[in-house]
């Protein structure tokens, strides 16, 4: 095949690997491999091309070659000059740099391609690994997560707990929960915070701000917002968002080192905004809950409309929670229409006049934030 390469002779230096001493030899390329003469009458060594290795992969720039043989560990053959290296690259092509790189990289290239393909599939099929993990979380863990989140969200703010107000809130919550047909007990907390907002947090918790109660014109509007946030809770959206954020934070921590990214879950949730689909799902729940609770959905629609159209409301609403629900989606009108269409059933006010007044002044009495996670 490469007959022109055979029977060339090269000056080389051979070591047997027992000591660091070396000796000069004339080696020859043959069909069977590299032929290395031995001292005196000893038979020459033959190193077949298939079992060779070189200290560095052979390239076109090679000016010499340091060859080893896998069946004679420690022994080395150093052949100066580019001629031998070129000939060896032809006779033992597995030793070239491009061959070695391809051998090392090809399994990973396939792995990377498969990873990308799986990623694209998951994305196209609308699968959400974070949602799957959130679904697998035990209730205990979700409750602990929820307590943590509520705690960090209410950090430095008072929790409202006027007796009459709490009673009204309990009644409203109970009426909505009974309409979920899910058996999950929601815990709703009002915090003294001027921002107009509401958050669903893990473990069936909802946080309402006093600013939202102030901005609402009647109990039906609050009922609508609560039902919407319960919808997020039923779909485990807060858990999913946190799992995703924690996954990212964990990945970031692994890559960048350092820690502390995970220490403020509440802040993370404040920054989360749900996707268009998630908001749609929460709306659907809200519509169903309101209908089964015999509360008019008009209040929800009115509040929704007012908040999305009031100048500067996006700023007052903040980034996450309701703010996200209103600011990040171009199809607000479409969603509003859906809520309005859902009406047409007999309904009673969510709360009586007196109860509504009590709920609005729930922040007359408040507790320091530390016990927020345990308040009913």
């Amino acid at each position: 095949m490469h007959s022109d390469l055979f029977h060339q002779r090269f000056e080389a230096r051979y070591t047997d690997g027992r000591t660091a001493g070396s000796r000069d030899v004339m080696v020859e390329l043959t069909e069977r491999g590299i032929l290395i003469p031995q001292d005196g009458s000893a038979a020459p060594l033959i190193w077949p091309f298939g079992a060779l290795a070189t200290a560095e992969p052979l390239t076109d720039h090679a000016i010499d070659a340091l060859v080893t043989y896998s069946y004679q560990p420690g022994a080395t053959l150093f052949v100066p000059g580019p001629r031998f290296a070129r000939a060896l690259a032809t006779l033992a092509p597995q030793l070239t740099a491009s061959a070695e790189r391809w051998r090392a990289a090809s399994p990973w290239l396939w792995g990377a391609a498969a990873t990308v393909a799986i990623g694209v599939f998951v994305w196209l099929a609308g699968l959400s690994p974070a949602h799957t993990i959130a679904n697998m979380l035990p209730d205990k863990a979700r409750t602990a997560m929820g307590r943590q989140v509520v705690k960090s969200m209410t950090d430095g703010r008072a929790v409202c707990r006027d007796d009459a107000g709490l009673k009204a809130l309990e009644k409203l919550t109970g009426r909505l929960v009974a309409a979920t047909h899910d058996g999950k007990a929601f815990n709703v907390v009002v915090i003294d915070w001027g921002l107009v907002n509401a958050f669903a947090t893990p473990g069936e918790n909802v946080v309402l701000t006093s600013g939202l109660l102030d901005a609402a014109n009647g109990p039906d509007e609050v009922a609508g917002v609560l039902a919407h946030e319960m919808g997020h809770g039923l779909e485990l959206h807060p858990e999913t968002g946190l799992v995703r954020a924690m996954g990212l934070a964990a990945a970031t921590e692994l890559l960048m080192g350092g820690s502390g990214t995970l220490s403020n879950l509440g802040i993370v949730l404040l920054q989360l905004s749900y996707s268009r689909d998630a908001e749609g799902e929460a709306d659907d729940h809200a519509i169903a809950i309101l209908r089964d609770a015999r509360i008019s959905s008009k209040g929800f629609a009115r509040f929704f409309e007012r908040m999305s159209k009031t100048d500067g409301s996006a700023k007052r609403l903040g980034k996450g929670g309701l703010g996200g629900m209103l600011s990040s989606h171009p199809d607000t009108d479409e969603r509003l229409a859906k809520v309005l269409r859902s009406g047409g059933y007999a309904a009673t006010p969510a709360l009586s006049e007196r109860e509504w007044a009590a709920l609005k002044s729930i922040c007359r009495t408040s507790l320091p934030s530390a016990k927020a996670g345990h308040s009913e």
Partner: protein
């Protein structure tokens, strides 16, 4: 440089022979850099271990003793397995424990903070272990004429010395640094073997204290002078204006720039002084390192090291700029082509472009972040070349006396060192 095998075969060499240490500048490092970069991107980063290995093979081969190359026999697979082991045994447990501590005890609680502190201390204790084990791995994978290097002994004394003296640096206002560096260097050197023959570290830190005093007081003087000049600049404007008056904006800007310039100059001086001290340390350690009847002689200079550092930085930036320019061109191309490919009925062109941008952004960020490492192999070759060019082995070595090492070659690579990013080459 190149010792070709001429002359009669030497069967009984003299008792000792002079070993000529030279650097044979490796060719094709830019090509290797580009190839490694592309493979790293296409394998989502995993190829890094193999890329690193090929760079080492080239660098080791460029180091010649009597014209014969050193050989690096490590593999990418070993580095990868080392990383996996460290990931599973060290990094993952640390992450799980710290996350669990936060979830159980709450953020910023005393218990969680104590656990975090304990983790930090454990990590600092592991740094010494990592350095020692990384050195051992590299020596075990370094051959010359088929004879392996080795680093004997346990890493524990080294790690403890490293850890305990670390806390003494601020307590002694830095004056322990020369002693500490010498102690740590001698702990390694005295355990290095080439085959059966040991290296020895003979010397102490005394000779380093002169240069260190120059560095220490130099930094102090530099800081005082720079502050004084800045003070004078501010004083002179305020003096001209009279008390309580604000100078005009352009004057403020000019003086701001002057102060910035003064501190930049001071920083440059600092870089030079620290490079000078580093050169003195390298040369001192070389002189203390003995092997058979030979010892090393270092001739590195501060200006030489500083030049290598600054030009290396420029090379890395240039490489990054090339990648970023290429990326921008590709991004522009995607922007222009994509709307033409998708049927107009499905989405508006603006929506499609936004979509394409959202899809391409993470890829471009990933490559952009890697771009700084494009020409890393070139800079590594320059750094190592400078060191070898300024290092000589003086005296003689009886190579026939050096027998193969009987040490057990470590199976996996230096993952721990890599995890803490204390990896020079």
């Amino acid at each position: 440089m190149q010792t070709s095998a001429t002359g009669p075969a030497v069967h009984h060499p003299p008792r000792g022979e002079r070993l000529d240490l030279t650097w044979l500048k490796p060719i094709g490092m830019i090509g290797l850099s580009v190839s490694n970069f592309i493979y790293r991107i296409l394998t989502l980063g995993i190829y890094d271990f193999w890329a690193r290995t090929e760079v080492r093979k080239r660098l080791w081969s460029a180091i010649r003793l009597n014209g014969e190359p050193l050989a690096y026999t490590g593999t990418g697979k070993e580095l990868f397995l080392g990383f996996l082991i460290v990931f599973g045994v060290v990094l993952l447990p640390i992450l799980i424990v710290s996350v669990a501590a936060i979830l159980i005890f709450g953020p910023n609680s005393l218990t969680a903070n104590l656990i975090q502190a304990a983790i930090y201390i454990a990590v600092f204790m592991l740094v010494g272990v990592a350095i020692y084990r990384a050195q051992r791995y590299r020596l075990l994978r370094t051959n010359w004429r088929g004879i392996r290097g080795n680093l004997q002994g346990s890493s524990t004394p080294y790690a403890m010395t490293y850890f305990l003296t670390l806390f003494l640096i601020p307590l002694t206002l830095g004056w322990i640094v020369p002693w500490r560096a010498t102690k740590l260097q001698s702990m390694i050197t005295n355990n290095v073997r080439f085959g059966s023959m040991p290296f020895a570290f003979r010397g102490n830190s005394g000779l380093l204290y002169g240069p260190y005093a120059v560095l220490w007081f130099g930094i102090l003087v530099l800081f005082i002078v720079a502050s004084a000049i800045s003070g004078m600049v501010i004083g002179s404007i305020q003096g001209d204006l009279g008390p309580g008056l604000e100078p005009p904006d352009d004057v403020k800007q000019l003086y701001g720039l002057t102060i910035l310039g003064v501190f930049a100059l001071a920083y440059l001086f600092y870089l030079f002084m620290s490079a000078w001290y580093r050169a003195r340390t390298i040369n001192h350690f070389a002189q203390c390192t003995h092997f058979d009847s030979a010892s090393f002689n270092g001739t590195a200079t501060g200006i030489g090291l500083l030049w290598i550092d600054i030009t290396n930085l420029a090379i890395l930036i240039a490489g990054s700029l090339v990648v970023v320019a290429l990326l921008s061109a590709i991004a522009a191309l995607i922007f222009m082509i994509v709307p033409a490919l998708v049927p107009a009925t499905a989405m508006s062109p603006a929506e499609i472009q936004a979509y394409a941008a959202a899809m391409a952004a993470p890829v471009l960020v990933f490559i952009g972040a890697l771009s700084f490492t494009l020409l890393l192999p070139v800079t590594q070759a320059r750094s190592m070349g400078y060191l070898i060019d300024h290092l000589a082995l003086e005296g003689s070595v009886d190579v026939n006396k050096i027998a193969q090492s009987t040490a057990d070659p470590m199976a996996t690579g230096e993952g721990l060192a890599q995890a803490f990013d204390i990896d020079a080459f």
